[in-house]
């Protein structure tokens, strides 16, 4: 039942299959009422994800990445802006979205709590299929279940077991198989490997990559792990306090960050290598401000080592720096870059 080791990822596995936009997010705002005030979880986020791509959203807790993804999956209603999946507005009421909502699926960070401990794997698989009327009888889809289990590297005997009988890595495979049975086009994965052991993380990463190719999937991955993102994603958007502060090709953004926050994040990530250890670290002071009362001007100015007077008053736009390159929301891009 153990997963077989899969081939090593090539350094840049970036087969650009298509450039059709699968998901378009435009000017999205998500706010929650908190004791009479408004918590602005997502503030004016726009992004486009092409078919077959791996798009990553990076940020720390409270940056709004989870709210953004939940709004994309239709769990939260945006207060402004729109999310279009294959051109159809996700939040517009009507039959249209019901027909395609199956196409967007969410993979939870921790597999165990997302699976009912009292149900067998077969029942866990069957429930969403039944809810989406993919079949009228469980026996019709038995073969599909077995095939999908095999595709995630598990045997058919798993169907009659309970979630407690599996290890963390196996459970994440099961959670993935449950989603894949619905034949989605876009999988939103919330920290898909961070709850797993290091030696198992790589297995799941390889599995995700293989499934993406085999089953023509597109991924939106939320992560706090910049080195991981730099290796598995095509494009990345770095979020801070509900806003995208930098976005571009994943390897470029993580290797040559232009925004001081991205640079600090990159520097803060401990990597077990001697040359990385000898780097001078950027230590940010304090912690992110409250999203109920975001700072004026650039939201990062309260912690930014290179903030000047202008940053306190004037909000920088998300645009390519004068010298060209990927988009960044900073008045002084690249100044703290590759310290």
């Amino acid at each position: 039942m153990s997963a077989t080791g899969e081939a090593t990822l090539p350094p840049h596995p970036r087969p650009k299959t298509a450039t059709t936009p699968l998901l378009e997010v435009a000017g999205l705002h998500v706010t929650f009422p908190v004791g009479g005030r408004r918590l602005q979880a997502v503030r004016d986020v726009s992004l486009t994800i092409n078919e077959g791509a791996v798009f990553a959203i990076v940020g720390e807790s409270g940056c709004g990445k989870s709210s953004l993804v939940r709004a994309i999956c239709g769990m939260y209603q945006p207060s402004a802006g729109s999310v279009r999946f294959r051109g159809i507005d996700v939040h517009a009421p009507g039959e249209h979205w019901r027909q395609i909502r199956r196409g967007v699926q969410l993979l939870f960070q921790e597999p165990l709590p997302s699976l009912n401990p009292r149900h067998t794997i077969r029942r866990i698989f069957w429930e969403p299929m039944q809810a989406n009327r993919l079949a009228s009888d469980m026996r019709e889809v038995e073969a599909d279940m077995r095939a999908q289990l095999a595709s995630v590297g598990l045997g058919a005997e798993a169907l009659d077991r309970y979630p407690r009988d599996f290890s963390g890595g196996q459970l994440q495979r099961i959670a993935l198989a449950r989603i894949l049975l619905l034949k989605p086009q876009l999988i939103c994965a919330d920290e898909p490997v961070s709850a797993l052991d290091v030696s198992v993380q790589a297995q799941v990463v390889h599995l995700l990559e293989r499934l993406r190719v085999e089953q023509a999937l597109t991924y939106l991955i939320i992560s706090h792990d910049l080195p991981l993102v730099s290796r598995i994603a095509d494009r990345v958007a770095v979020m801070y306090l509900g806003e995208v502060v930098e976005t571009g090709p994943a390897d470029v953004v993580s290797r040559e960050p232009q925004h001081p926050y991205t640079a600090a994040l990159r520097s803060a990530t401990p990597v077990a290598r001697m040359d990385e250890l000898q780097r001078k670290r950027i230590i940010l002071k304090g912690e992110p401000p409250s999203p109920i009362d975001p700072p004026s001007g650039c939201a990062f100015h309260t912690r930014c080592p290179i903030a000047r007077a202008r940053c306190r008053t004037e909000k920088p736009a998300l645009q390519p720096p004068p010298g060209g390159g990927h988009r960044v929301a900073c008045h002084f891009p690249g100044e703290m870059g590759n310290a």
Binding site: E6, T8, E60, D197, S199, A264, A272
Partner: protein, 324 residues
Amino acid sequence: MDTATAHGARTGVVVENLHIAHRKRGQLIEIVRGVSLSVAVGERLALVGESGTGKSLTARSLLGLLPPPTFVSAGSIRIDGIDVVGASDAQLRRVRGGIVSFIPQDPMSALNPVRRIGRIFDEVLVRHCVVSKAERRDRIAHVLSGVGLQQVVLERFPHQLSGGMKQRVLIALALVTEPTVIVADEPTTALDATVQAEILDMLSGQLAQKVALLMITHDLGVAATVCQNIAIMYGGTIVEYGPIHSILGAPGHPYTRGLLAAAPDFDPDRPCLVPIAGSPPVAGAFPPGCAFSPRCSSVGARCQQEPALAGGDHQIACWFASRS
């Protein structure tokens, strides 16, 4: 007894051939199988391993705080010459929080929510016989400035502090009794990367110079950032033990090599995210012989027997380790 006598001989911690087990249906199930390590004052050692390797139990045994069904079935733990394994409850209470301090993983639930921070500090100090109010104030002020906190936090309740500030309060609490040994169990796992960087910076800096720090972590990067020495645990034993630069530079055990290759890395020219097949073993079902052998890419006949940790400064428990 006051803390001064306990500090008479600050030698740090020496663990020898530690076995931790629990009984299940009359059978003894070993979770930790012969761990030996020592941390001197001024030294920082990281115990690195995946879930279920017994690293947390090893750390808790230093405080005499093993969760009930588990117990030390063999071996010895000496802290400043005091035998923790055979200690009475009264002795243990003095050791705990006196000679040994603990920094927990989850700062959110580690502080009593209905007590002000100042009161929590006072309680700890009074329990360790610091009765003079002036001395308490001095000591608290000293450790607070050490972790970069203002005096005003003493007036606050835990819920008024952020996660990072709480973790600093816990570090200050661990330092305030002037212990010999600090055990930190995944002290930054619950924190964000930028906050983690701050705490790691603090743990690797001046603060921990006068104590022996034993840090438990699953993250080799965190271990390498803070500690001089690393012990890699797998299947209840230490499989590799040595100075950080030596282990990162020339990892000897296939598991260590696997861990390093499995972690993601910024450098596009380096192989990374190479999976280790299978999953970590669980206590009670450790494979016979070398516990890593079922997942190892280069096994031989000798791996049916358990290899011992051998070597000088840099010890490796593998039959095929190239030892020079």
